[in-house]
Symmetry: C2
Subunit: 165 residues, 2 copies
DNA sequence: CTGAATCCCTTCCGATACTG
DNA sequence: CAGTATCGGAAGGGATTCAG
């Protein structure tokens, strides 16, 4: 197996004290949650779950549908989703071999939630694009101002030096 | 700047034909959406948005609260969230310097959605853990069976060879 | 057809050191 | 305090090859 099941050291909970914030999800709860979140929020997992909504697809169909995924990453993604109980894998003994993938009931509930997130993104993507553009403009202006200031200081310093000598 | 704004080549839309699935988010829509999703579904972004719910925090406060983030990643995360218009950054001219971070209205709406995702994860984390355990058991059993089978074949082959010679 | 295994390059990210 | 710059190790991920 390429990667093991174990996490890198220090990834998980060791903060026991510090009851720092009870109003919401604090850092302690993220030990398990964060790891799962990283998995399902993954670029390919998201797409696979999306594409498997209410239907069954074969490996190659998924491969073509996702369009950009390598067979390696698709296989890995599907294996993990299967392991997490979100996708069911059915092997048909046949020649040529045929493997079907479909969402489990658990996976179907995730689809709803993910869908909400994607909807938010679609709804606000223009605002985000606008915010980025505005930010980039501000940053560029600031940088230009700094460069002008630097040039000014440089000129002054040269003048002083010239006056001295 | 360490990483530029531009994406890696071939990351975005080039699939124009293939009107393959109109019922849901197909691959074409993900050009923009996926990129934004990757950003907001990021491990640190998620936590930062969570912690900034309805309050203002300073850099160091966030650093301590997240507990595990490096100053590098926190700074990067905050910069990106600011650029995306999700977080407002306020610099107070003072000694020592003080910088406050808070959610923008846009960021606040994201908080609700993210919260739904995290709630799903918390709700189903036990099911996922169970699924993983079951999967691992099945896999181990399969592997053991394969090894027994291999040993059996090996023994037969040796017997045949011994009979021949 | 459906993968698993290998090679190899790129990106991510933490540790460290340095500015304002 | 609030960052930025640089480096090196680790992980991500594509291309290719092999197997069932």
């Amino acid at each position: 197996m390429e990667e093991g099941t174990s996490q890198s050291p220090g990834y998980c909970c060791d903060t026991d004290g510090d009851p720092y914030d009870a109003r919401q999800w604090d850092t302690r709860n993220d030990c398990e949650v964060r790891q799962i979140l990283d998995r399902i929020a993954d670029k390919w997992s998201l797409l696979v779950i999306a594409l498997l909504d209410r239907r069954t697809l074969r490996f190659t169909e998924l491969r073509r549908a996702v369009d950009g995924v390598s067979q390696r990453m698709l296989a890995r993604t599907l294996r993990q989703l299967e392991r997490d109980g979100l996708v069911r894998r059915t092997v048909h003994a046949a020649v040529p071999p045929r493997v079907d993938y479909e969402l489990t009931p658990l996976g179907a509930t995730l689809h709803t939630t993910i869908r909400a997130l994607v909807d938010w993104t679609e709804t606000h993507q223009n605002e985000i694009a606008a915010a980025r553009a505005a930010y980039d403009v501000r940053e560029a202006a600031e940088q230009a101002a700094q460069e002008r200031e630097a040039a000014r200081r440089d000129a002054i310093a040269r003048d002083v030096l010239a006056g001295r000598l």
